[in-house]
Subunit: 505 residues, 2 copies
């Protein structure tokens, strides 16, 4: 047994507490360097560091424990309820190790401020870019729970995470009537407390997907520009906050304004070195609709919105591409015009496969808002090997469509798309019995799906394919090249993984 | 010159009148038998019959005149403004022939009643089924005008056309609260005059498409059940009438009813021999929405709704499959339940390609409402031959998407989908300058598109392909088999036509 450190005596916890001690202190960075059997497998739990190298081989859950290597076991324990037992904590305590330094002492902060220097990030995340921080969930975790734990939820930051003092934070709401309109302007300023106390709190479960999700599939077919996302720049969370509609009405928006107002712009408090802030807009109709369910969210999965997800306030625009779900929200502008930001005007647009960087005319394409029907296989992984003795294989994945369109069917093939079977859909963690259908046009959350099939007898390889259908009966395109576009967005062709069947000796 | 007959002296007309005479009388059926050079080419104009066999060769518009053979030239003259000249009428008068019997004297009426026996139908329509009458537009006519003339608009009748006396016609509107609800029921009865005079008249340009449009493409891939529609079970018309929303509110619908009401059912006055009427329903949300633009239409293209299109009242549900746009409307029911009709419950649903008639579970799939993104090539026709000396080819087609999603791009390939060009889109007859963009989510009308490309030099064949993109960036699937379903609905894979280039001698 190797005790490394423990930072403090935890005073609360679902499965009890661990005694404190005075052991050496390690930074999170040092912990995160211990992710292999050679370097040792370290994990943290409530500020304590544990060397579980020897435990890995006897972990009842098998290899999955390696996902926690170099980081906290807590989000996994929350994910797998089996850990919620006293003897599990006792088992861990045998490997107690040392104290870790908190995130506030970590080296090389992205930016500095009074509240947090650099958000704590779990090493299991697959990092796409460090500064600004961009990372996605390992696919096999994605379908372990209907709600994606915030710590595993993909992070897509365009600019450094700003440090915002919630005590002095103000959200500006501006009604920006055109100069030729008879209406005067109007500005409302709300504190975080105002948002929490002066408006009813609403909770919406909504999937957010990056326009670049599955870009790597497109990139493989033909080079594109952009972060090389796998299939997990998507997640499903419950979001709580004030309704954007309620706040716009409080700011003085009236039905008359719909004569000139067509867009609601959002400005983030994140800035580049030149002071340009992130910005985007959505159609007014979506923002003001009772059924649009747009939120000014201050909670994610029942807890304070994490720094990487927009603390203290982000807008959640259900059914709409991630890029319009602006984080670290500073300003809302009701306007006749779309946001003039780079990300609205010259990025996050779809083009024909024939459009290249010499011929691209940004004005010719609409800014992406609703995303098309999407699905992907999370388990098994591409290149996985299945033993013939297992006799069957369980295939898992997610499916989602933009605009509140419900996923009504997922077809799965194990022969490259020649024949299809229908997967079972899950629209909650409750299982089919406790599930309720969302109202029409308000299916904001994904469906997880699963299919168990016998291993085919006459082949050593399976090409597993999935394709989903939404309530408008839109379906995914078969192949990637005809939807290829220079920015590699909207990559939603059939998802395929190849699996080899290992024959018995 | 052969004068066949003229029925009466026309008293009005855009290009003048023709003198009356007393010539033999022919029935429309007799006229319609004269559609070939061997049998003679007869056409009608304002009740007169003209033998234009000798004129066909010298028609300045070439072969197109053959489309009118056996029927009226009037809808074509309306389509091609060039005919709106005095000398054209003079030219026709040289071929004057005889009088035709009106439709009310035609043999074998489908049904009998006081007002019309059998709707007049232009012989250019491609008949799919005679009783009930089902027919589509010749594709090349479809893209000649942004608004499809009513006479050419596809007819899809499930049951015989009912004869309805507009003087005694009543529309019943029923609020059918469930028995466990505190609300009582409510019934409103409106005459045609009530609908015309007590509610504001709204006009909406909307495309209506049959769920079975392009079924023949699916049928070719693998047998399906249903009428073998080509690519023209779709049309675009302007519809005028009372707003369904206004009528529901007049019938006593209130916001409170949204607690139990989820569907609006429609019952037609058309019946089968057992007395079963046609029926369907749409989500309440669509019916009651200000932006849903659902109409109780009494006009099509500015004229009284024709018998084949639902006289005196049909519901127009923009963005929604034709099957829910119930014709000869007799009853509207606000209900907690979907329509229990065969066409809602056991038909007009999409299934997986793996579902066959032995395994189909109707309850497993939602009734089709919004249709997916669609496009097709109308010109050139499949199998057409283009002369090398023409140097270029002009490709035409239509594109449309359900749910009010605007078509934002059409890609066209002349090499089977290897390379793509972007077609020009038209969203009115005015040309690009006079065109306005529809409000977001309310793009109910199709876009016509066109592309002129040089004939490729290194091949004698072109496989022309089109695919469209809508404002949610949904795209058409590449191939038909993966979307095949036993009823052959939702056939929206890439449309392809093959063209041969005839080399010069």
């Amino acid at each position: 047994m190797i005790i490394l450190s423990t930072k403090e005596s935890p005073t609360s916890g679902s499965v009890g507490t661990l005694p404190s001690s005075s052991l050496p202190i390690f930074s999170q960075e040092e912990v995160s360097r211990h992710r292999t059997l050679e370097d040792g497998i370290w994990v943290t739990y409530k500020g304590g560091v544990y060397d579980i190298t020897e435990f890995v081989a006897i972990h009842p859950g098998g290899d999955k424990i390696m996902l926690a290597a170099g980081g906290s076991v807590e989000p996994f324990w929350a994910l797998y309820a089996v850990h919620n037992q006293e003897h599990v904590l006792e088992m861990l305590s045998e490997y107690k190790a040392t104290e870790s330094r908190g995130p506030e002492e970590a080296a090389e902060p992205e930016s500095i401020g009074p509240l947090f220097l650099r958000p704590e990030r779990h090493p299991v995340l697959r990092i796409n870019n460090l500064k600004p921080f961009n990372a996605e969930t390992p696919p096999e975790i994605l379908t372990e729970s209907y709600i994606t734990p915030s710590v595993f939820f993909y992070k897509r930051n365009h600019l450094p995470v700003p440090n915002i003092d919630p005590a002095t934070y103000k959200l500006q709401i501006e009604i920006q009537a055109p100069t030729n309109s008879e209406r005067g302007g109007g500005v409302l300023s709300l504190s975080l407390d105002d948002l929490k106390n002066k408006f009813p709190k609403h909770t919406v479960t909504a999937t957010i997907q990056c326009a670049g999700n599955r870009r790597s599939d497109m990139h493989k077919a033909k080079q594109v520009k952009g972060l090389n996302w796998g299939i997990a720049a998507i997640g499903n969370a419950s979001w709580s906050g004030a309704k954007l509609r309620d706040v716009l009405l409080a700011a003085g928006y009236t039905l008359d304004d719909s004569k000139w107002a067509q867009h609601v712009q959002f400005e983030g408090l994140d800035q580049d070195v030149a002071g340009t802030t992130y910005g985007a807009s959505i159609p007014l109709k979506k923002a003001i609709s009772e059924d649009g369910d747009c939120l000014l969210a201050y909670e994610m999965n029942g807890e304070v919105l994490p720094a990487d997800h927009g603390f203290p306030i982000r807008v959640v625009v259900p059914g709409t591409v991630g890029a319009r779900n602006v984080k670290w929200l500073g300003k809302i502008i009701v306007s006749a015009e779309e946001s003039s930001s780079h990300w609205q005007q010259n990025d996050y647009k779809g083009f024909s496969p024939s459009t290249d960087w010499d011929t691209v005319d940004y004005k010719s394409a609409p800014a992406i808002q609703e995303l098309p029907i999407q699905s992907a296989i999370t388990v098994p992984a591409d290149g996985a090997i299945v033993d013939r003795s297992e006799e069957e294989v369980t295939i898992k994945g997610y499916a989602w469509s933009g605009g509140g369109r419900e996923v009504v069917r997922v077809d799965v093939s194990i022969d490259g798309g020649n024949t299809w079977k229908i997967a079972q859909l899950k629209c909650s963690d409750k299982g089919a019995d406790g599930e309720t259908t969302p109202p029409p046009g308000r299916a904001w959350a994904w469906k997880l799906w699963e299919l168990t099939v016998p291993l085919p007898e006459d082949t050593k390889e399976m090409e597993i394919v999935c394709k989903a259908v939404d309530s408008s009966y839109n379906m995914q395109p078969d192949t990637i090249l005809p939807i290829w576009n220079l920015r590699g967005v909207l990559s939603n062709a059939w998802h395929k993984v190849n699996v080899r069947i290992q024959e018995e000796e």
